[in-house]
Symmetry: D2
Subunit: 230 residues, 4 copies
């Protein structure tokens, strides 16, 4: 079922879901053709060539005419990187208005990792299954203590915005995210990179998988251009 | 024919045309409901109340989830104000790549105006039909001289980007414009105001007419809120 | 010592410190006078009148010519609201690169609060000293457990970016923040409001106190204009 | 006199003038060091290495902490490209409020050029001194007719905003421009390129000359990085 591609599960409790999209490859071509007072109705070789040209020469504005909205469930520590992409619109689940979600992220065995090397050139390596299992249990125990404490505070009548202060950044939140294709390709370029934190890489790959089906020609061009956004 | 509303003629040779739209009133409601982890499927009284609340309290981000693309033909001097709205995406017809369009703007009788008063409080008044006719002819004559000179330069083999330097700012250009609803309401608030230049007011009113049909509840709310954007 | 005003302590371990500033009231006047090809060298009545006019009529761009940089120490849950102001530049202390800071926020007695009413119209009231003391101890105990667990994970050789996942959002972080005066007045308008979370109000008031000394005329004008940013 | 470098004449009547600057190379280093909770007081080899690293890896935000304000006099057709750089603040001389400036741009001999080839790969070549002289005289004559017509309309009592409609885009305007270093390096990268319009290249080179003295280490790093902005 092709529909499935529009929702990707990520990490242990997260997901990325395409909510809506405005425009496609042809929209980009016609925005660029505005400069010449021309319009195309089909994606032929000329149109593909134009998209390659725009990508390579970094004529970015035509790519801003395609806009995506996603619903995303992600841990707070991932959200803290996500929100740094300023050319985008976000609405987030509010811990002031609503009870937080009882889901927290625990890395799988192979992602319980050690860190060596210097900033910008860290190497991360799995610590081994035995140690990983112990760490997972430990992290889950702490997360669970925090959640229970949160519920106790709520039961004591403490305001949600105060009670949630003791919830760790591995707890999940949810957002609606609207972003144009130019800004999104920049997000994917940066957040799919090896040096990015593994967990946000996973989200970036989910986003990439979903959108590449919407703008296949642009995506090919992005890959040819070494994944540098226009 | 309802379709007609999506294209509005403006001034003597200009127009505004809705190219595409993503989202509607319900999109705004559901983006805001993200904060509560809830979803609405119909626009009832509760949903209307929520939009009024968001508008009044200036919770602006949910309005960013609705996005419009327009094609617009407008004089360069109007474009020079238009482009100052930075939270938007523009592709413009290029006088470097293409021969300019042989259309220039001449104000109608009642808009050949005099200016009195101080900056921020100018009064503009029609100069009277007789004088207006003379001014129109004069402006048209100068515009025509410029266009002919432009064509002469092109025939002499001069680059388009050099030849166009002598075209006045009343010549028309064309753009594709993508903008979210929050930024658009701010545009309408500023550019429909009495103190705005009359010609951009006309464009602003055309945009307003087109979009109010797409987001009727939000538009009502905008009017109630004294046309202040959220 | 006038110098003291440039650093304000906020909450139990936080602070706001002015790092540098470009421009002052006169900068705003002269940016606006650009429209007339004029320059002022002193702040007289005319200049004050111009600033009032710009503020009231929401001619915002001249206020963008004054730029501030701050260093700020704040809890993560405050940072999560802070970062939503997109027209600004931020560098943040990194929990991937560095060991986190061992400071966490516990509200003072009068700010251990209950929450009643509906979203947008919540009332927050102190729960009383006796209960507050208990809640403070409880929150401190949980925070302390989390910090100790974080240190254990680090000692086990787990990567910083994994270990910090179990630190709650009441832990402190640090940022460098550059923002222009127009965007900053909008920040202050929204974050000093009664409906804002109390903790971010405190930061907003600290910022307000620091900057009002730098741009006294603009600040007066902001107050006269009911604290609506231009 | 070192002072001279802060004002560069451009084209026949234009100039770029540095008005103020906030920050320097060390500001960038310390913004980046925020991530590690460290501070530098001198630019040593380590600091240079850090700037190179930030530039190469496109960690752009530290470069946003340095901000420049310029005063610039430039032809309208150059301004029309300039204003497309959205991450910046502009105040412009207003043809609605003030009488326009009686200066227009005529390219020098070697820049009266022909255009061959395809979009994105145009070649521009001088047309020869004899033809160039004729074109210059012709362009000046048309510009002069437009200016005289503008003055006639003003004398007839026509509003400035109407009268100026017949002024060509080679007339000069003036702006105040505030922009951070990251956005400015992007401007320079795009507008100093061979494919950019020659006239804006000239302005870009003037800006480049002025700023390279303010942030010498960053500028070296920019050159090493093939002039790609971080």
């Amino acid at each position: 079922m092709i529909q499935l591609a529009f929702r990707q599960n990520v990490l242990d409790h997260g997901w990325v879901e395409l909510h809506s999209v405005m425009g496609n490859d042809l929209t980009i071509v016609n925005a660029a053709r505005q400069s010449f007072g021309q319009t195309s109705t089909d994606m032929g070789e000329k149109e593909k060539g134009l998209i390659n040209f725009l990508m390579r020469e970094r004529h970015g504005t035509p790519f801003e005419m395609v806009v995506f909205t996603f619903n995303i469930k992600l841990p707070i520590f991932v959200m803290r990187e996500w929100v740094r992409h300023r050319i985008a619109s976000i609405n987030e689940y509010s811990g002031r208005y609503s009870k937080m979600i009882e889901d927290y992220y625990i890395p799988k065995d192979s992602k319980i990792r050690s860190q060596t090397g210097k900033p910008g050139a860290y190497r991360f390596e799995p610590v081994g299954t035995f140690k990983a299992k112990a760490v997972q249990k430990f992290m889950a125990a702490v997360s669970s203590v925090c959640w229970n404490s949160y519920e106790i505070l709520l039961k004591m009548g403490i305001a949600k915005e105060v009670a949630r202060m003791i919830l760790p950044v591995n707890f999940y939140t949810q957002i609606t995210w609207t972003i144009n294709l130019r800004s999104l390709l920049n997000f994917i370029n940066l957040r799919s990179a090896d040096t990015a934190m593994w967990e946000i890489q996973e989200y970036s790959r989910a986003v990439e998988w979903i959108i590449h089906q919407q703008i296949p020609v642009t995506y090919d061009s992005f890959l040819k251009n070494k994944r540098v956004a226009p």
